[in-house]
Structures are given as structure tokens and as C-alpha cells.
């Protein structure tokens, strides 16, 4: 099959699934709805693998013109290269697993067909985002995934207790994303102003090696792009929506808010690497924002009690880590972590979904415990995920994180030190989560305990697949010290197949430092694991109740009060402003002002009508008076006429 046709099929299949489910989903049986939705994504994945295997250079597929003006042409066209196909593989691969999982997870939901409709639409938008060959198509997908994210977060808007909260969370996510979108929009405008095109390749070729471009314009463009990335990828200051987005069904969290959509910001940065390379200052900003995010989010995760919230903050933290890598210009490293993170975070989310499903929608870890026996398969896979993210040696997370640490150590030891802190905290909260959930005594009450059950095959199968990937994902990009030949496969793959990346070279540490680094990381991870085991499993420590929290714990549990601060600094003033402008300026000042003027004019009638006194003598007097005034005026005028 021709490549372009394959590509179009990949994009069209989810759309087809969306159309079928959207139009007829209500009348079809649930298995067929879910089956179709899963199948289209899976077929897309298979097609993507064929593209992957036959990948050779960059290829552009043009579909049609969106806008064709004299000075501006924008096409709906797509780009096949290493980066886009890799992202496609992640999206469709993990996407199909999550679809499969959802068939089980959502089986009792009345909005079943709607859910799959949205999911397919999301996959479609996401594919547009990563496959587009220009910023416009990317923006298309960018906004599209935002919309789907909104729809899916507020999916359970009818819920009796949480319906309103769910919809508010969706709204928050949408608005926060929109702030980022404005950044992207402005960046696009500036790119258009600078290059008169939005095609990646054209721009890339235009800027390549052109050091003269380095400076103001590039800074603004990349800065705006980065703002967009912070919106989508939940970085400071726009990260608060992601934890709230956990209001959505868990598969959504896994797919959108862990594996795919939130990495769009990283994709954008990698895709625009040639621009960022010209803006070192922006890269510094990225580095420090990423660093701050990863630290802050990890800190917040320490004392969260909602199983999904912990994972959410963990996601924010990991994304921050990726941005640190980007800040160092280590694009492939960041993308490597995107990949492994997609594996284990999807696994963790699905695992938590399985737990929540089994616990009948209970998400509070204080009500869990001892689930290891009740849900063995889930337990095992969750453990693997936890170990992967915590950086237990030779699991996928170990390698990808290590790469980032290595970059940090190479560039800036201080950053490295902070990252060590963040990584340690990651291990702490993840094991805390794991042990509190799966070990110890069940705390949810007996009636619930009797109902807890292991999930069905459609849910556990994806878990197992993802667990395998989480374990072996690291093999994609082994460090050079183990297998000389197989090492850095991913680096090569990306940097040779993606425009601009071949220009960027990652730092490689020498042998001893690498070994030392890995050893240190392993010690931390394993040490934390043992500590957590002792503390939570053996000693039986439990999550404290809110009232018992001490100073730093409270800060963590209350998320550093960021939401409150935003509320006071941004939301409240905006609402007050709106209220003020609406009531005072608009109604009082403008509208009533118009009325007042009108009334003022019309009320002079009360005055003018008094002139009509009713007395004949006064009429005659005024007539004469007017006449005299006229005469006087004209005689005066005559005297000055010449």
C-alpha cells in the first residue's frame, strides 16, 4: 500500500469510528460499539507499524487546500517522519489498549457509545496534532484534543453528587488549555509574519544555521510556543487543571492525561527544535519551569489521598522532568521519557482504574488496603508500574530517567541535585501509594470488601501488555555502556528521521560517571522501596486524616494552596471586574447614561412648555421681543459686515 494512502487511512479510521458510533451508537449493542472503536484504533496502529517499518526520510502528504490566498497558503497536509510516526505508534498503540480496557471499565455506563465516540474523536484529533505537516494542522488537532479533553473530563456531568464538580473540572481544563492556545496562536502569527508559511519543513530549512535569526523574534516565537506547551502539558503556571481533570473516567486519565495529550507540549517543542535552538534564553526558561514543576508537583503528590490525584501530580512531575530535558536541548531524551512514561503511567492509571472499578468507584486510598490478595493481577501490574516510575534498576523508567539525570549532571550539577530530590520524592509517594493500596488491612468496610473483585479480561489484558512494555521499554534506548551495538537506538532513530534533530547532539558522559550515576539512582530507588515497605507494610502506617497533618504535610495535601492563590489573584478579580463592568459601567454608566441624556433632553419639555403661558399679552410680548432681538442682531451684524 502506498504510504500516503496508509497515512490517510490511519487518520481516517478513528474518524470513521467516531462517525459510526456517533450516528448509530445508540442503537448498536455495546460490544459492537466498543469493538468498532477499539478495532479502528488497533488497525490504525497496525498500519502505523507498516509505515514505521518502511520509514525512509520525510514524506509530505497533501490532502487539500484549506486556504489559498495570494500571500498565504495553508494546506491540510501531513508529514511522515520518525517523530510523527513514533507518536502515532504511541497514540494508536496505547490508545487501542485503553479502548480495550474501557470496554470493560465503562460497561455499566449509560453513556457507553458516547464515550467511545469521544475517544475516537480524541484519537483523530491527536493524530492530526502529531501528523500535521504544518502548525495550522497541528493547531487544529491541538484545539481538537482540548475539546475532547473537556468532553471526557466532564463526561459524568449527570452524576448526582459530583456532576457539577466534574463539569467544572472540564471547564477549568478547557479554559487553562485555551490560555495556552492563545500562546500557540500568537506564536503562529509571529511565525507567519516571519516566514510567511506554517510548514515545518519550509521553516526549518529557512532557519537552519541562520544564526542571524537568533534574537528577539525567535525568543518571542519560542516563548509563545512554550506557553502553549505549558497549557497542554500542565507546567507551571498552568498545571492546576490536570489534577482536577481526574474527574474524568479513568481510561480517559490514562489516555489523555498521562500518555498522549499532555505530551503534546513536548511534541511541539521537539517538532520546533530548530526554532528553540535559536533561542537559548527560552530554553533556560523551559529548564527552570520544568525543574520547578517537577519539584512542586512531586511535593504535592506526597500527601494526596486520592489514588488518581497522586498519579496526576506524578504525571505533572514527570512532564516537568521531560521539560528539563528539553531545556538542555536533549530532545530525544525527552521523547524517550515520553515513551516510557506513556507505558508505565498508562499502566498505573489503568491499574488504578481497575482498583476503582473493583472498589465500586471508591478512590480514596484511606479506604483501601490489602487489595493485593483481592486483585492479584492488578496488584502485580501496578507493582511493576510503580517500580518502573520509581526507577528500580533495569525497568523502563530507570533508563529514561537516568538519561535525563545524566544530561543534568553534564550541564549543571545544581539542577542535578534538585532532580535527585524530585526523583526521591517520586519514589516515596509512589511506594506510599502502592503499599497503602495493596497491603495492610482492608479499610473500606466489610460490605464493600465482599464486593471487591478482580477485573475482567478486557481490563487485565491491557494491564499485562503495558506491564511488559514498562519492563522492557528501556531497551529502546540503552545507554552506551551495556550493549555497544544496540545502544542509543532510539536516539539514532529519531535524530536521523526527524528534521533538525540531527543537528543536536546529546551529551554523553564518560563510563565512570555513568556507572556512578546509575548506582546512585538505584540506591535511592531501592532504598526508598525498602523504607516504604518497612514503614507502610510492616509498621502499618496509614495515611493521616486531614486534621492530623503537620506543617509541610498540610502544604502538600493542600497543593501549596495554588488553587486558592489563583482563585484570589485571577478568578475573583475577573469575576469582580465582570460584575463591576456589567453592572456599573455597562448598565449604570453607559445604558443609563443614554437614558439620562434622553430624559434630560425630553424633560426640558417641562421647561419649554412653561413658555406657552396661555396669556395673550405674553405671546405678543415675546413676538415683539423676538423681533427686536432679530433687528438688533442684524443691525449689529450689518455694522461689522464688511
Amino acid at each position: 500500500m502506498a504510504k500516503d494512502l496508509t497515512l490517510l487511512l490511519i487518520i481516517a479510521l478513528p474518524l470513521l469510528g467516531f462517525a459510526i458510533n456517533g450516528l448509530f451508537g445508540k442503537k448498536l449493542p455495546k460490544t459492537i460499539v466498543g469493538g468498532i472503536a477499539t478495532a479502528v484504533v488497533f488497525v490504525a496502529f497496525l498500519l502505523a507499524t507498516t509505515l514505521f517499518s518502511g520509514l525512509h526520510g520525510t514524506q509530505i502528504v497533501k490532502l487539500f487546500n484549506i486556504i489559498d490566498f495570494d500571500q498565504l497558503q495553508i494546506n491540510a497536509s501531513f508529514q511522515i517522519d520518525a517523530l510523527s510516526i513514533w507518536m502515532t505508534l504511541i497514540i494508536t498503540g496505547i490508545g487501542s489498549l485503553i479502548h480495550l480496557f474501557s470496554m470493560g471499565y465503562m460497561s455499566h455506563d449509560e453513556g457507553y457509545h458516547k464515550f467511545f465516540t469521544y475517544l475516537n474523536l480524541f484519537i483523530f484529533s491527536m493524530l492530526l496534532l502529531v501528523l500535521g505537516s504544518n502548525y495550522f494542522v497541528l493547531f487544529f488537532g491541538w484545539e481538537g484534543v482540548g475539546m475532547c479533553s473537556y468532553l471526557l473530563i466532564s463526561f459524568h456531568y449527570n452524576d448526582a453528587q459530583k456532576g457539577l464538580a466534574n463539569s467544572l473540572a472540564g471547564r477549568k481544563a478547557f479554559i487553562m488549555n485555551r490560555i495556552g492556545d492563545v500562546g500557540l496562536l500568537l506564536a503562529l502569527f509571529m511565525i507567519l509574519g516571519q516566514f510567511h508559511t506554517l510548514e515545518f519543513m519550509t521553516i526549518g530549512k529557512a532557519v537552519q544555521g541562520d544564526v542571524a535569526l537568533q534574537g528577539g523574534a525567535m525568543f518571542f516565537i519560542t516563548f509563545c510556543l512554550f506557553i502553549a506547551a505549558t497549557g497542554k502539558s500542565a507546567q507551571i503556571p498552568l498545571f492546576t487543571w490536570l489534577p482536577d481533570a481526574m474527574a474524568g473516567p479513568t481510561p480517559v486519565s490514562a489516555l489523555i492525561h498521562a500518555a498522549t495529550m499532555v505530551t503534546a507540549g513536548i511534541y511541539l517543542t521537539v517538532r520546533s527544535n530548530f526554532l528553540f535552538e535559536l533561542a537559548p534564553f527560552t530554553k533556560d526558561i523551559i529548564l527552570y519551569v520544568g525543574l520547578a514543576t517537577t519539584l512542586v508537583a512531586a511535593f504535592m503528590a506526597l500527601r494526596q489521598n486520592d489514588i488518581k490525584k497522586v498519579l496526576a501530580y506524578s504525571t505533572v512531575s514527570q512532564l516537568g522532568l521531560m521539560f528539563v530535558a528539553l531545556g538542555f536541548g536533549a530532545y530525544t531524551v525527552a521523547l524517550f521519557h515520553v515513551t516510557t512514561h506513556a507505558f508505565f503511567k498508562a499502566l498505573l492509571f489503568l491499574g488504578s482504574g481497575s482498583v476503582i472499578h473493583g472498589m465500586h468507584e471508591e478512590q480514596d486510598i484511606r479506604k483501601m488496603g490489602g487489595l493485593a490478595k483481592l486483585m492479584p493481577l492488578t496488584h502485580l501490574t501496578f507493582l511493576i508500574g510503580t517500580m518502573a516510575i520509581a526507577g528500580i534498576p533495569f525497568l523502563s523508567g530507570f533508563f529514561s530517567k537516568d538519561e535525563i539525570m545524566a544530561q543534568a549532571l553534564h550541564h549543571n550539577p545544581a539542577v542535578y541535585a534538585i532532580l535527585v530530590l524530585a526523583v526521591t520524592m517520586t519514589a516515596i509517594y509512589m511506594f506510599r501509594l502502592y503499599f497503602l493500596t495493596f497491603h495492610g488491612a482492608f479499610r473500606g468496610g466489610d460490605s464493600l470488601k465482599s464486593k471487591v473483585h478482580e477485573s475482567g479480561l478486557s481490563m487485565t489484558l491491557p494491564l499485562m501488555v503495558l506491564a511488559v512494555l514498562s519492563v522492557f521499554g528501556g531497551l529502546l534506548n540503552l545507554p552506551g555502556l551495556f550493549f555497544k551495538n544496540a545502544a542509543h537506538w532510539f536516539d539514532h532513530y529519531l535524530s536521523h528521521g526527524t528534521f533538525g534533530l540531527s543537528e543536536v547532539h546529546n551529551a554523553h558522559l564518560d563510563f565512570n560517571t555513568s556507572i556512578g550515576l546509575m548506582l546512585f539512582a538505584s540506591i535511592i530507588a531501592v532504598g526508598v522501596m525498602i523504607w516504604a515497605y518497612l514503614n507502610y507494610a510492616k509498621k502499618g502506617s496509614l495515611a493521616k486524616e486531614d486534621a492530623a497533618l503537620n506543617g509541610w504535610e498540610r502544604l502538600s495535601a493542600q497543593k501549596l494552596y495554588v488553587d486558592e492563590i489563583y482563585n484570589t489573584v485571577f478568578v475573583k478579580p475577573l469575576l469582580t471586574l465582570s460584575e463591576f463592568v456589567g453592572k456599573v459601567v455597562d448598565v449604570q454608566l453607559l445604558r443609563n447614561g443614554v437614558y439620562a441624556i434622553a430624559d434630560g433632553i425630553l424633560n426640558t419639555a417641562n421647561l419649554t412648555r412653561k413658555w406657552q403661558t396661555g396669556f395673550l399679552s405674553s405671546y405678543l410680548f415675546w413676538m415683539v421681543f423676538g423681533l427686536i432681538i432679530f433687528v438688533a442682531y442684524y443691525l449689529l451684524k450689518l455694522s461689522v459686515w464688511h
Binding site: R609, K610, Q612, T613, G614, F615, L616, S617, L620, F621, V624
Partner: protein, 107 residues
Amino acid sequence: MQAASSIGTSLDFYLFVSFALFTIGAIGAMTRKNMIVLLMCIELMLNAVNLMLVTFSTYYGNGDAQIFVFFTMVVAAAEATVGLSIIIMAYRNLKSIDIDMYNQLKN
């Protein structure tokens, strides 16, 4: 427009008289309350005009204005007729010929 008659220098005098009469009439019309007096004042104004017309007629030496004077007199007569009958009708209604009593219609 040459002065074609013997009226010559005394033109100003005639004009002054005419002005004076007109002003007296106008002030009278404005200040007096009795409708009959009002009517008379207006007649006075008309006659002031007549005087002026005749003056100018003499001054210019053509007869147009004198003919006009006749018209004015006729009109004045007609006005007086109508005016008096209106006053009578008004008197029937309000039992008064004080002009200030006629003050229902206002504002």
C-alpha cells in the same frame, strides 16, 4: 429711487410719527387687557402703516402705495368686523372681555 416730491426733508418727520404710532399700538396691544382696546391698538398699528405708505408714496411719487392704503383700510374693516363678532362670542361664553381671563389653553 430719487426723491421725486416736495416731501423732502420732512420725510423723517412723517416716518417718526408713523413709527411712534406703530410703537404705541404695539405696546398698547401688549399691555392692555380690554379686548376692545386691543382691537383699537391693532387698528392703530395698521393706520401707522397707512401713514407710512402714504408718506413713501409721496416720496417716490407713485401711486402704488396709496392704492395699497385703500386695501389696508378694507382689510382693517374686515378684521374689525370679524374681530368684534369674535369678541361678542367670547363674551357670551366667558362673560368677560378681559383678555387675561382667557387662559384655559396653555402649556
